[in-house]
Amino acid sequence: MSHDVYELSGVRCRELLESGEASATELVQAYLDRMRGVDGQVGAYLLTNEEAALRQAAAIDAKPAEERGPWEGVPIAVKDILATKGVETTCASRILSGYRPPYDATAIRKLNEAGLIILGKLNMDEFAMGSSTENSAFQPTRNPWDLERVPGGSSGGSAAAVAAAETPWALGTDTGGSIRQPASLCGVVGLKPTYGAVSRYGLIAFASSLDQIGPLTRTVSDAAALLGIVEGQDPLDSTSTGLREPIRLPTERDLAGRRFGVIKEFLGEAIDSGVREVFNDACKTIEVLGGVVEEVSLPSVERGIAAYYIIAPAEASSNLARFDGVRYGYRSDEGEDLLSMYTHTRSEGFGPEVKRRIMIGTYVLSAGYYEAYYGQAQRTRTLIIQDFNRTFADYDYLISPTSPSVAFKLGERTADPLAMYLSDLCTIPVNLAGLPAISLPAGFSQGLPVGLHMISPHFGEQALVDAAHALEQKFQLGARPALTEVTE
């Protein structure tokens, strides 16, 4: 059997397994072969789980079909921020190199219980801090559409692996756009669920009030299916809620009667003309499918980046205090006493962007500044939530481009951290408000993918995938990245 890996989604893998057209071993082998052929160029994987994956596949193939769960034997890969028991988990940081968690993240446990086969761990910006995956301590990841360009970040490994067909689907995490922006830049679907829909237990914390796990997939149906597997309330994360109702695979074909608000503040000068063109065409497609498109204003979202770059570093500086060389990870040999061991360990173990964010966070939380920065930021957050709530009284969805530009070249933006931060303007307010949002491939500019960003009210995931599915069927984007497999 030989499979065109580009034709395989998670749902398609399940169908092939159910009909007996493919075995779990054949599927795993197809992806391992693909990885060997292209990952030298793409660099999506930090670790591959080859032996364990083949062993698990063989065990599943040996089971009678009627004893198998629906997703049993379908391959998947996960961002290296999720704790995997006994399997190295680094968060792409030197400070966690060699760390083998003694437990599984809840999302990983759910994948395992459903019988999915984890192919490996995917690259990312160190501690999920970045928008290009260039902050990985170990390797850059390249965009499968143009190897000179970044895949976006921080879930750049997840987006690139799906785009290069090195896995049918993947899990990533999104704190300020880290699922949606790389999905947009790599031409795949990225879904950031409502805050709390997926348990954060075992997700190495960056900014706890913003972090959320979600799917990066080839199709909208896959995003719905994978969210259905990992969502749920979890006693180990008291902020988790699960979805209110189980999510169904979308079947909608039209958008009759649905109201879409175009967020005016997200369409300023920052948006490149090529991206704007694809976005305007997408708006026309919405109307062709029967939807209503109108411009709306949410004045507070313009303060989103400022609020985010106070709140997220503040939470990060507190969360990352645990990396001190005592209980896990790297410890420096330098240092005569405890304090000096801490300082050497952290200075050698963290990369420049992580240090920068820890410094910002420590500064805004330090004596005398708390109210002026953190207090004001949390109040701004309230205004943003109120603006969204007010607008959702009149609209089912709010839309914008996901990213102001297509994928940029490696090295192009590393010299100016603030410029890199400003590129997250459309995605950040969504995390501040805890809303679900999806990035859907909507077209191309200069031969590079452009994503459409759709936001819905809290727990509106079903409506979100329904509309995204209708659009996906209409867009019918068939293009694939032109990667050449290297044969050994």
Partner: protein, 93 residues
């Protein structure tokens, strides 16, 4: 502009050591970023309640049941240095 002394103070609080080059670079980057986020102070937010979590939750309790946690060996399995069932660290300064 954030002074060199302030950068050193914050680095000390964060348990980070910055060499001469890094201190200068961090000072200018931090100033630029703080300048940007300072726009938050221009908003009139009197009477607006701060948000800590975007999705309001109250009284989340789990059942009062025990379950197995990590064993001592598991908890120590990643320790850079362990002795007699404890995490071993250099002496206090």
């Amino acid at each position: 502009m954030i002074s060199r002394e302030e950068v050193e103070h914050v680095a000390r609080l964060a348990r980070l050591h910055l060499d001469e080059d890094a201190l200068a670079r961090m000072g200018s980057e931090l100033s630029q970023i703080i300048d940007y986020v300072q726009q938050i102070g221009e908003l009139d937010l009197a009477g607006v309640e701060p948000t800590a979590h975007a999705v309001a939750l109250t009284n989340v309790f789990r059942k009062d049941e025990t379950w197995e946690g990590l064993t001592q060996d598991e908890a120590l399995s990643n320790a850079p240095n362990a002795e007699a069932g404890h995490f071993a660290v250099p002496r206090m300064g």
